[in-house]
Protein backbone atom coordinates (compact mmCIF):
# COMPACT_ATOMS: atom_id res chain seq x y z
CA UNK A 1 0.00 0.00 0.00
CA UNK A 2 1.30 3.44 -0.90
CA UNK A 3 2.25 5.60 2.04
CA UNK A 4 -0.08 8.64 2.16
CA UNK A 5 1.64 11.96 1.72
CA UNK A 6 1.87 14.25 4.74
CA UNK A 7 -0.91 16.39 3.24
CA UNK A 8 -3.19 13.38 2.75
CA UNK A 9 -2.53 12.09 6.26
CA UNK A 10 -3.17 15.49 7.84
CA UNK A 11 -6.35 15.94 5.78
CA UNK A 12 -7.58 12.62 7.20
CA UNK A 13 -6.69 13.84 10.71
CA UNK A 14 -8.62 17.05 10.10
CA UNK A 15 -11.74 15.09 9.13
CA UNK A 16 -11.41 13.11 12.36
CA UNK A 17 -11.04 16.31 14.39
CA UNK A 18 -14.29 17.67 12.87
CA UNK A 19 -16.08 14.51 13.94
CA UNK A 20 -14.54 14.69 17.44
CA UNK A 21 -15.79 18.26 17.90
CA UNK A 22 -19.28 17.21 16.81
CA UNK A 23 -19.22 14.22 19.17
CA UNK A 24 -18.17 16.30 22.17
CA UNK A 25 -21.21 18.50 21.58
CA UNK A 26 -23.35 15.42 22.19
CA UNK A 27 -21.17 14.18 25.06
CA UNK A 28 -21.04 17.39 27.10
CA UNK A 29 -24.81 17.69 27.55
CA UNK A 30 -24.95 14.24 29.18
CA UNK A 31 -22.32 15.06 31.77
CA UNK A 32 -22.30 17.21 34.88
CA UNK A 33 -19.75 18.82 37.16
CA UNK A 34 -16.08 18.06 36.67
CA UNK A 35 -16.75 15.59 33.87
CA UNK A 36 -18.66 18.22 31.89
CA UNK A 37 -15.81 20.66 32.40
CA UNK A 38 -13.35 18.01 31.18
CA UNK A 39 -15.50 17.51 28.09
CA UNK A 40 -15.41 21.23 27.37
CA UNK A 41 -11.64 21.30 27.71
CA UNK A 42 -11.31 18.28 25.44
CA UNK A 43 -13.56 19.87 22.84
CA UNK A 44 -11.48 23.06 22.98
CA UNK A 45 -8.31 21.01 22.42
CA UNK A 46 -9.81 19.37 19.33
CA UNK A 47 -10.92 22.79 18.04
CA UNK A 48 -7.40 24.16 18.45
CA UNK A 49 -5.97 21.26 16.47
CA UNK A 50 -8.65 21.64 13.82
CA UNK A 51 -7.84 25.34 13.42
CA UNK A 52 -4.11 24.69 13.24
CA UNK A 53 -4.61 21.99 10.62
CA UNK A 54 -6.80 24.22 8.45
CA UNK A 55 -4.08 26.89 8.50
CA UNK A 56 -1.31 24.38 7.89
CA UNK A 57 -3.04 22.64 5.00
CA UNK A 58 -4.08 25.95 3.42
CA UNK A 59 -0.61 27.46 3.56
CA UNK A 60 1.12 24.35 2.25
CA UNK A 61 -1.27 24.04 -0.69
CA UNK A 62 -2.92 20.91 0.64
CA UNK A 63 -6.56 19.98 0.27
CA UNK A 64 -8.67 21.21 3.16
CA UNK A 65 -11.58 18.80 3.56
CA UNK A 66 -14.83 20.50 4.56
CA UNK A 67 -16.56 19.74 7.83
CA UNK A 68 -20.02 18.19 7.75
CA UNK A 69 -23.17 19.30 9.50
CA UNK A 70 -23.52 16.00 11.31
CA UNK A 71 -21.76 12.72 11.91
CA UNK A 72 -23.10 9.25 12.59
CA UNK A 73 -22.15 8.27 16.12
CA UNK A 74 -21.08 4.67 16.72
CA UNK A 75 -23.84 4.24 19.30
CA UNK A 76 -26.59 6.44 20.78
CA UNK A 77 -25.54 8.80 23.57
CA UNK A 78 -28.38 8.71 26.04
CA UNK A 79 -26.81 9.00 29.48
CA UNK A 80 -23.60 9.57 31.41
CA UNK A 81 -22.30 6.04 30.83
CA UNK A 82 -22.73 6.16 27.06
CA UNK A 83 -21.33 9.69 26.97
CA UNK A 84 -18.15 8.57 28.74
CA UNK A 85 -17.89 5.53 26.48
CA UNK A 86 -18.11 7.76 23.41
CA UNK A 87 -15.53 10.16 24.87
CA UNK A 88 -13.06 7.25 25.15
CA UNK A 89 -13.91 6.22 21.60
CA UNK A 90 -13.43 9.73 20.23
CA UNK A 91 -10.00 10.08 21.82
CA UNK A 92 -8.85 6.67 20.63
CA UNK A 93 -10.07 7.28 17.08
CA UNK A 94 -8.48 10.70 16.72
CA UNK A 95 -5.31 9.30 18.32
CA UNK A 96 -5.33 6.59 15.63
CA UNK A 97 -5.40 9.21 12.86
CA UNK A 98 -2.51 11.13 14.38
CA UNK A 99 -0.65 7.85 14.83
CA UNK A 100 -1.13 7.08 11.14
CA UNK A 101 0.27 10.52 10.31
CA UNK A 102 3.56 9.68 12.08
CA UNK A 103 4.72 7.51 9.19
CA UNK A 104 3.94 10.21 6.62
CA UNK A 105 5.70 13.04 8.42
CA UNK A 106 9.15 13.98 9.64
CA UNK A 107 10.67 16.69 11.80
CA UNK A 108 8.31 19.21 13.42
CA UNK A 109 5.25 17.70 11.69
CA UNK A 110 6.00 14.33 13.24
CA UNK A 111 6.62 15.94 16.64
CA UNK A 112 3.21 17.58 16.37
CA UNK A 113 1.56 14.28 15.43
CA UNK A 114 3.20 12.49 18.34
CA UNK A 115 2.19 15.24 20.79
CA UNK A 116 -1.42 14.84 19.67
CA UNK A 117 -1.29 11.04 19.88
CA UNK A 118 0.12 11.22 23.43
CA UNK A 119 -2.35 13.87 24.57
CA UNK A 120 -5.38 11.98 23.25
CA UNK A 121 -4.19 8.66 24.60
CA UNK A 122 -3.78 10.22 28.06
CA UNK A 123 -7.24 11.77 27.81
CA UNK A 124 -8.74 8.42 26.84
CA UNK A 125 -7.15 6.98 29.98
CA UNK A 126 -8.63 9.80 32.10
CA UNK A 127 -12.08 9.14 30.65
CA UNK A 128 -11.74 5.44 31.42
CA UNK A 129 -10.82 6.30 35.00
CA UNK A 130 -13.85 8.61 35.22
CA UNK A 131 -16.05 5.81 33.87
CA UNK A 132 -14.50 3.24 36.22
CA UNK A 133 -13.16 1.14 33.35
CA UNK A 134 -10.27 -1.16 34.28
CA UNK A 135 -7.61 -1.32 33.17
CA UNK A 136 -7.65 2.34 32.15
CA UNK A 137 -4.89 1.81 29.59
CA UNK A 138 -4.37 -0.08 26.33
CA UNK A 139 -1.09 -1.59 25.20
CA UNK A 140 -0.78 0.26 21.89
CA UNK A 141 -2.73 3.53 21.95
CA UNK A 142 -4.10 4.48 18.54
CA UNK A 143 -3.28 1.14 16.94
CA UNK A 144 -6.20 -0.22 14.94
CA UNK A 145 -7.58 -3.29 16.64
Amino acid sequence: MRQPTAGEALAAVLSAEYAAIYAYGRIGVRLTGAARESAHQAEAAHRRRRDALVVQLSTTGGTVPPGRAGYALPFPVTDRASALRLAVEVEERTAAHWRAALASTTGPDRDQALAALVEYAVRATRWRKTAGVTPPTVAFPGRPT
Partner: protein
Protein backbone atom coordinates in the same frame (compact mmCIF):
# COMPACT_ATOMS: atom_id res chain seq x y z
CA UNK B 1 64.09 -0.25 3.32
CA UNK B 2 61.21 2.16 3.09
CA UNK B 3 57.58 1.16 2.78
CA UNK B 4 55.78 3.52 0.52
CA UNK B 5 52.20 3.55 -0.57
CA UNK B 6 50.98 3.53 -4.12
CA UNK B 7 50.22 7.08 -4.99
CA UNK B 8 46.67 7.88 -5.95
CA UNK B 9 45.12 4.71 -4.60
CA UNK B 10 42.92 4.72 -1.58
CA UNK B 11 42.88 7.47 0.94
CA UNK B 12 45.05 10.51 1.02
CA UNK B 13 44.88 10.99 4.75
CA UNK B 14 47.66 9.41 6.75
CA UNK B 15 46.18 6.31 8.26
CA UNK B 16 47.25 7.06 11.78
CA UNK B 17 45.26 10.26 11.78
CA UNK B 18 41.95 8.54 11.32
CA UNK B 19 40.38 6.15 13.73
CA UNK B 20 40.27 2.51 12.86
CA UNK B 21 43.65 1.07 13.78
CA UNK B 22 43.02 -1.99 15.79
CA UNK B 23 45.46 -3.29 18.32
CA UNK B 24 45.82 -6.42 16.22
CA UNK B 25 46.78 -4.49 13.12
CA UNK B 26 49.35 -2.47 15.00
CA UNK B 27 50.83 -5.69 16.29
CA UNK B 28 50.86 -7.05 12.76
CA UNK B 29 52.68 -4.02 11.55
CA UNK B 30 55.18 -4.26 14.37
CA UNK B 31 55.84 -7.93 13.66
CA UNK B 32 56.48 -7.32 9.98
CA UNK B 33 58.71 -4.41 10.74
CA UNK B 34 60.76 -6.63 12.99
CA UNK B 35 60.96 -9.35 10.35
CA UNK B 36 62.06 -6.95 7.67
CA UNK B 37 64.42 -5.13 9.91
CA UNK B 38 62.94 -1.89 8.79
CA UNK B 39 63.00 0.90 11.28
CA UNK B 40 61.06 3.34 9.20
CA UNK B 41 57.51 4.35 9.78
CA UNK B 42 54.51 2.75 8.14
CA UNK B 43 52.61 5.98 8.34
CA UNK B 44 50.26 6.44 5.45
CA UNK B 45 50.32 2.87 4.30
CA UNK B 46 47.22 0.86 3.43
CA UNK B 47 48.95 -2.50 3.20
CA UNK B 48 47.52 -3.99 6.37
CA UNK B 49 44.08 -2.45 6.30
CA UNK B 50 42.35 -4.91 4.04
CA UNK B 51 40.37 -6.55 6.86
CA UNK B 52 39.07 -3.22 8.04
CA UNK B 53 35.40 -3.97 7.38
CA UNK B 54 33.37 -2.15 10.02
CA UNK B 55 30.72 -4.23 11.76
CA UNK B 56 27.18 -3.08 10.91
CA UNK B 57 26.01 -0.49 13.43
CA UNK B 58 23.81 -1.90 16.19
CA UNK B 59 20.08 -1.36 15.73
CA UNK B 60 19.15 1.83 17.60
CA UNK B 61 16.03 0.10 18.93
CA UNK B 62 17.96 -2.76 20.50
CA UNK B 63 18.37 -0.95 23.87
CA UNK B 64 14.63 -0.31 23.92
CA UNK B 65 13.95 -4.04 24.05
CA UNK B 66 15.91 -4.23 27.29
CA UNK B 67 14.34 -1.04 28.56
CA UNK B 68 10.82 -2.47 28.06
CA UNK B 69 11.79 -5.75 29.73
CA UNK B 70 13.30 -3.80 32.64
CA UNK B 71 10.07 -1.85 33.06
CA UNK B 72 8.02 -5.05 33.08
CA UNK B 73 10.34 -6.50 35.72
CA UNK B 74 10.08 -3.36 37.84
CA UNK B 75 6.28 -3.61 37.84
CA UNK B 76 6.39 -7.28 38.79
CA UNK B 77 8.84 -6.59 41.61
CA UNK B 78 6.69 -3.75 42.92
CA UNK B 79 3.55 -5.86 42.74
CA UNK B 80 5.31 -8.68 44.59
CA UNK B 81 6.25 -6.27 47.38
CA UNK B 82 2.81 -4.64 47.40
CA UNK B 83 0.19 -7.30 46.62
CA UNK B 84 -2.64 -4.80 46.99
CA UNK B 85 -1.33 -3.06 43.85
CA UNK B 86 -1.35 -6.20 41.69
CA UNK B 87 -4.60 -5.38 39.91
CA UNK B 88 -3.27 -1.97 38.87
CA UNK B 89 0.27 -2.99 38.03
CA UNK B 90 -0.32 -6.34 36.34
CA UNK B 91 -1.83 -4.99 33.11
CA UNK B 92 0.93 -2.40 32.80
CA UNK B 93 3.62 -5.06 33.22
CA UNK B 94 1.92 -7.04 30.45
CA UNK B 95 1.92 -3.96 28.24
CA UNK B 96 5.67 -3.50 28.67
CA UNK B 97 6.22 -7.15 27.81
CA UNK B 98 4.06 -6.70 24.70
CA UNK B 99 6.18 -3.67 23.75
CA UNK B 100 9.38 -5.69 24.21
CA UNK B 101 7.94 -8.45 22.01
CA UNK B 102 7.04 -6.02 19.23
CA UNK B 103 10.38 -4.22 19.44
CA UNK B 104 12.27 -7.52 19.36
CA UNK B 105 10.31 -8.56 16.27
CA UNK B 106 11.15 -5.28 14.52
CA UNK B 107 14.82 -5.44 15.52
CA UNK B 108 15.03 -9.13 14.65
CA UNK B 109 16.20 -10.51 17.99
CA UNK B 110 14.62 -13.18 20.15
CA UNK B 111 13.36 -12.30 23.59
CA UNK B 112 14.96 -14.09 26.52
CA UNK B 113 12.65 -16.95 27.49
CA UNK B 114 12.97 -16.26 31.22
CA UNK B 115 11.55 -12.93 32.30
CA UNK B 116 14.30 -10.48 33.16
CA UNK B 117 14.84 -9.59 36.75
CA UNK B 118 15.16 -5.88 37.26
CA UNK B 119 18.54 -5.12 38.79
CA UNK B 120 17.47 -1.64 39.83
CA UNK B 121 14.28 -2.85 41.45
CA UNK B 122 14.65 -2.21 45.11
CA UNK B 123 10.85 -2.15 45.16
CA UNK B 124 9.75 0.39 47.68
CA UNK B 125 7.68 -1.25 50.38
CA UNK B 126 5.09 1.45 50.83
CA UNK B 127 2.66 1.89 47.94
CA UNK B 128 2.88 5.68 47.48
CA UNK B 129 6.65 5.61 47.15
CA UNK B 130 6.53 2.60 44.88
CA UNK B 131 4.02 4.27 42.55
CA UNK B 132 6.05 7.49 42.48
CA UNK B 133 9.17 5.52 41.55
CA UNK B 134 7.33 3.79 38.71
CA UNK B 135 5.93 7.09 37.46
CA UNK B 136 9.44 8.53 37.34
CA UNK B 137 10.66 5.53 35.34
CA UNK B 138 7.76 5.83 32.92
CA UNK B 139 8.52 9.49 32.37
CA UNK B 140 12.13 8.73 31.46
CA UNK B 141 11.02 5.84 29.26
CA UNK B 142 8.47 8.06 27.52
CA UNK B 143 11.28 10.46 26.66
CA UNK B 144 13.40 7.71 25.16
CA UNK B 145 10.46 6.47 23.05
CA UNK B 146 9.74 10.04 21.96
CA UNK B 147 13.33 10.52 20.82
CA UNK B 148 13.31 7.16 19.06
CA UNK B 149 10.07 8.02 17.27
CA UNK B 150 11.44 11.35 16.07
CA UNK B 151 14.53 9.64 14.63
CA UNK B 152 12.82 6.53 13.24
CA UNK B 153 12.20 5.61 9.61
CA UNK B 154 8.57 5.77 8.51
CA UNK B 155 7.83 2.07 9.03
CA UNK B 156 8.80 2.21 12.71
CA UNK B 157 7.31 5.58 13.64
CA UNK B 158 3.79 4.39 14.47
CA UNK B 159 4.95 1.61 16.80
CA UNK B 160 7.29 3.95 18.65
CA UNK B 161 4.56 6.57 18.86
CA UNK B 162 2.20 4.07 20.46
CA UNK B 163 4.89 3.05 22.94
CA UNK B 164 5.57 6.69 23.88
CA UNK B 165 1.83 7.26 24.30
CA UNK B 166 1.39 4.09 26.37
CA UNK B 167 4.12 5.20 28.75
CA UNK B 168 2.37 8.56 29.14
CA UNK B 169 -0.93 6.82 29.93
CA UNK B 170 0.82 4.68 32.56
CA UNK B 171 1.86 7.82 34.41
CA UNK B 172 -1.80 8.87 34.37
CA UNK B 173 -2.96 5.42 35.51
CA UNK B 174 -0.52 5.47 38.45
CA UNK B 175 -1.80 8.79 39.80
Amino acid sequence: MVFTCPVGIGRTTPRDQVSGHTRRKLLHAGALLALGGAATSLTGCDLFDRDDEPAPPPDPLRPMVDEALGLAAAYRATAAANPELTDRLGPIAETHTAHATELARVVGVTLPSAPAADPSATAATEPAGALAALRAREKTAQQSATAACAAAPAERAALLGSIAAARATHQEALK
